[in-house]
């Protein structure tokens, strides 16, 4: 087991920065998810850690050893990392047992030990008795498990996953998610897990690194990411957060302050030390918004769309004060709202996005 330190890493292809000045420290035994929109540099980051690409600047450390610097790098075959590839990358000309035992064979482990360890690994992923099959004769889920067994048989210090569930159907995903979680618990391996599925990342990870355009946008625990996004990108990317212009009216006091949002005064959560300012941004989540009772303070506007989704309706609302903003929330059936109708909603709570990034 070993931790992973990514220190100020930049990777440039031609004149395009695929990864820009990213620093992440993954603790020994931690499960880190890397989340971000397509093309933001997740796979590139993983390939840097694995050693398939070398850094343009910065350095990467696994355990106590520097493995990548701009001057040179330890090649992947010497890094003792395991990778589970998105398309499994099982060798079609080998049986399941040969696939799993490959790294042991390369390391010249004797046949008997090899067989025992391969059997153990197969038992661990519930593949007993599949040893003589070819990968072509396995289902998607089984292939994924072979890939997992193949990577864990060598007891790597660090396991990297690149969107391992992207090719599986919804039901399989759920059960594989459980399997990964159990695997992490059992082995205590340090894991870097790349995904663009937020639910997956939230469910599995100790911490999540959100990337945007090659940069690290925020590195935090799932709950913090949801409740206290560090900038607008994270705020809107995670769980469809709404980013709404606001004015800060009072200084922070025990983590809260008063803001004016679309004409309504709301008390929102904030970082310590925030002071009154204009052109601030507040992040609200759907549960923070609801229909205003008559006479309550609220925001007037128009219902833009009402989509029924079994039991609840998703309402999209354009406030009169700023029609470029769209608020959305869920309204249990029977919903009184129709598209085009006037309505009044209230914001119960929110998070003041820290200055700097948004100011």
């Amino acid at each position: 087991m070993a931790g992973l330190t990514i220190n100020g890493v930049t990777k440039t292809f031609g004149d395009f920065d695929a990864v820009k000045d990213v620093s992440i420290e993954v603790k020994d035994g931690e499960f880190l998810a890397v989340l971000g929109p397509s093309g933001c540099g997740k796979t590139t980051l993983l390939r840097l850690v694995a050693g398939f690409e070398n850094v343009t600047s910065g350095d990467i450390r696994i355990g106590n050893e520097i493995v990548s610097t701009a001057q040179g790098c330890v090649p992947p075959e010497k890094r003792r990392v395991g990778i589970v590839f998105q398309n499994y990358a099982l060798w079609p000309h080998m049986t399941v047992a040969e696939n799993i035992g490959y790294s042991l064979k390369v390391a010249k482990v004797d046949a008997e030990t090899r067989k025992r360890r391969v059997d153990d690994a197969m038992a661990l992923v519930d593949l007993k008795g599949f040893g003589d099959r070819r990968p072509a004769n396995l289902s998607g889920g089984q292939r994924q498990r072979v890939a997992l067994a193949r990577c864990l048989v060598a007891a790597p210090s660090l396991v990297l996953f690149d969107e391992p569930l992207a090719n599986l159907d919804v039901h399989l995903r759920a059960s594989m998610e459980d399997e990964f979680a159990a695997f992490h618990k059992r082995t205590g391996t340090t894991i870097v897990y790349i995904t663009h599925d937020q639910a997956e990342a939230m469910a599995l990870a100790d911490r999540i690194a959100v990337m945007d355009n090659g940069r690290l946008a925020q590195l935090a625990a799932p709950r913090e990411l949801y409740r206290e996004p560090a900038n607008e990108m994270v705020a809107s990317f995670i769980s469809e957060g709404m980013v709404i212009p606001a004015q800060v009216l009072s200084p922070a006091e025990s983590g809260h302050l008063k803001v004016s949002v679309l004409g309504q005064e709301v008390v929102v959560r904030c970082r310590d030390g925030e002071k009154p300012r204009h052109e601030a941004k507040v992040c609200c989540r759907a549960p923070d918004i609801s229909a205003a009772a008559p006479g309550e303070p609220g925001i007037d506007g128009t219902i833009r769309r009402a989509v029924h989704k079994g039991g609840v309706a998703r309402i999209e609302f354009a406030p009169d004060a700023d029609p470029t903003v769209t608020l959305h929330f869920e309204q249990p059936d029977p919903s009184p709202f129709e598209a085009g109708a006037k309505a009044r909603v209230r914001i119960a709570s929110g998070w003041l996005i820290p200055g700097g990034a948004s100011a």
């Binding site: 330890v74 090649p75 992947p76 075959e77 010497k78």
Partner: protein, 567 residues
């Protein structure tokens, strides 16, 4: 800083260096040596070789002849190949794969075998014409001994080449373009004229350029058809000079081969330019167009297409087989005269023939085996290393095959006429110089399918082995070789087939004791023993058939297009 940084690069380095050294040795050195001979014969700069060549009248006659047969042969090949490609790809003719197999077959047969077969078909001694009682009187001239004959056979030989390239282009033609035109009310011929042919122009021109390079570089057909008529093209002129004058005229020959190299280069460049001009808007991945229904014309068109096959494949082969059964020149063939004596003679009795078979088998086998082994690391660098200079490496391997065979043969002669420096090893006048030339010339035939094979493999398979701790050589052996082996082996088979009855290179490089099958055929034919030559040719055609069947067994594991005769 850790001491393990940059560790394990050694194998990558070793492989790159070995590959680069091989390519320098096989492709770049011979070309440089040839150029040196032109500009600095004997080591000092001089234009003597050039001016001597330029003032010689035969040079210009042969150049003119080369261009004539080159242009008209290409024209015929383009007309034949394009029409067949249009019919096969765009209409609903039946029996497509059998037809493609038969139509592409001449490409698999050595040109001099094609030439011999046609000669046997039309000559005054033709057993077939005699059987039908319409043979011209003995002693009259075979009509194929003429420029027209050469042009006809070049067209037949290289029509399939055009066919393959145009068909590949047509397959990428998205159906929407054709359907949009038909929906606008255009009939089939209008669509063909205004949509299909304009879009296919780059493909057709590229194919024409390639056919041109092949036509001007061809040796077997003008050697069998032109030399008796004293109609010389550059490759046959080079052969005659060298056969008459030996190493003393190598300077002359070098000039001529550079001349033909330049003519071919023009074709190669035209082809490069055209492939680059391909309209990328049409290389979408949509389905190919619905075949056009020929309706009541389908049967007549099919009959015509099969008549073509009978004419260009079956009849000549029949002529070849029949004349291999005739006991002697001009004797009519019937149940009483038919004999297997010719086969017995060339297989068991004539010592030089046995030697030639052994030599050609050994040469083709070694060339194929070597090429397969070398193609795998070269293709690894070409397909996966992502380095820019690798493109030039690939180009360097293409060159000895793209240029006419005589060019490489003369270059090899120049390189090895003197013993190899520092070692004193003499390759000239041994079989090894032929092997060298085969390795250089045919390597690309294994390299192309192997590169295609790599492109079909997900690179993650190698990366997975890397993180499992496998070094480059281990990965090569345990992961990469098993995965690309079918493609590389198919390339090896193509090399074996091509080299087995190869004539162009060995005609210039052979010496007593190192005869090849091609050389043997040629000398029998020149000595008037067409029946022996036919027997040998029939044997090589049979071997080619068997090898094609063998290659078909690999087909399921191959990238499409590796086996040209598979539709």
């Amino acid at each position: 800083m850790s001491v393990r940084l940059n560790q394990g690069r050694g194998q990558q380095w070793a492989m790159t260096v070995v590959v680069a050294a091989l390519i320098v040795l096989l492709s770049i050195l011979p070309m440089l040596r040839l150029i040196q001979e032109i500009f600095a014969p004997g080591g000092t700069l001089s234009t003597a070789a050039i001016s001597a060549g330029l003032t010689n009248a035969t040079t210009w006659v042969a150049t003119g002849n080369t261009l004539v047969v080159g242009f008209f042969g290409t024209a015929l090949a383009v007309v034949l190949g394009t029409s067949v490609a249009l019919l096969v790809t765009l209409t609903d003719v039946r029996g497509r794969s059998a037809f493609v197999l038969c139509y592409v077959m001449p490409l698999m047969i050595a040109p001099q075998v094609t030439a011999l077969a046609w000669l046997q078909l039309f000559g005054p001694a033709s057993p077939l014409l005699k059987l039908l009682g319409i043979a011209p009187p003995l002693g009259s001239r075979n009509p194929l001994y003429s420029p027209e004959g050469i042009i006809l056979l070049l067209g037949v030989q290289y029509g399939p080449l055009v066919f393959l390239l145009v068909r590949a282009g047509l397959r990428k033609l998205p159906r929407e373009l054709v359907e949009a035109a038909r929906a606008s009310g255009a009939g089939w011929f209008t669509v063909l004229r205004t949509i299909v042919l304009p879009l296919m122009t780059p493909s057709i021109v590229a194919a024409a350029a390639l056919a041109f390079v092949s036509c001007v570089g061809n040796f077997g057909i003008p050697a069998f058809l032109g030399i008796p008529a004293n109609y010389l093209v550059l490759p046959t002129l080079i052969y005659q000079r060298l056969a008459g004058g030996g190493p003393a005229v190598l300077g002359d020959a070098a000039f001529l081969s550079v001349l033909i190299g330049l003519i071919a280069m023009a074709g190669i460049l035209a082809q490069e330019m055209m492939s680059r001009r391909r309209d990328y808007r049409i290389s979408s991945t949509s389905l190919p167009a619905e075949p056009y229904e020929l309706g009541k014309w389908r049967v007549p068109v099919q009959v015509m297409m099969w008549c073509l096959i009978v004419l260009i494949l079956f009849l000549p082969l029949l002529g070849l087989v029949l004349s291999s059964l005739v006991p002697g020149y001009g004797i009519p063939l019937n149940a009483a005269t038919a004999t297997l004596d010719n086969y017995r003679f060339v297989l068991f009795e004539y010592g030089a023939a046995r030697r030639a078979f052994l030599n050609s088998f050994a040469l083709s086998l070694s060339a194929a085996a070597f090429a397969v082994l070398v193609a795998i690391p070269i293709a690894y660098l070409v397909a996966w290393s992502g380095k820019k200079w690798v493109k030039y490496l690939n180009l360097a391997v293409e060159l000895p095959y793209a240029l006419p065979g005589v060019v490489l043969a003369i270059a090899s002669l120049l390189m090895f006429l003197k013993p190899i420096p520092f070692t004193g090893v003499q390759l000239y006048n041994t079989i090894w110089i032929i092997l060298y030339a085969y390795l250089a010339r045919f390597l690309v035939l294994a390299l192309r399918p192997t590169i295609a094979g790599y492109h079909q493999i997900d690179r993650a398979l190698e990366e997975a082995a890397r993180v499992a701790g496998a070094s480059l050589f281990t990965r090569m052996r345990t992961i990469i070789f098993p995965l690309v082996a079918p493609a590389a082996l198919a390339g090896g088979l193509l090399i074996f087939m091509t080299a087995l009855s190869e004539l162009t290179v060995s005609a210039l490089l052979w010496s007593s004791g190192s005869e090849t099958i091609g050389v043997l055929m040629f000398s029998f034919e020149q000595g008037g023993d067409s029946n022996y030559a036919s027997a040998i040719s029939a044997i090589t055609v049979a071997i080619t058939f068997v090898l094609m069947l063998l290659a078909n067994l690999l087909a399921a594991h191959l990238p499409s297009g590796v086996l040209p005769w598979r539709d």
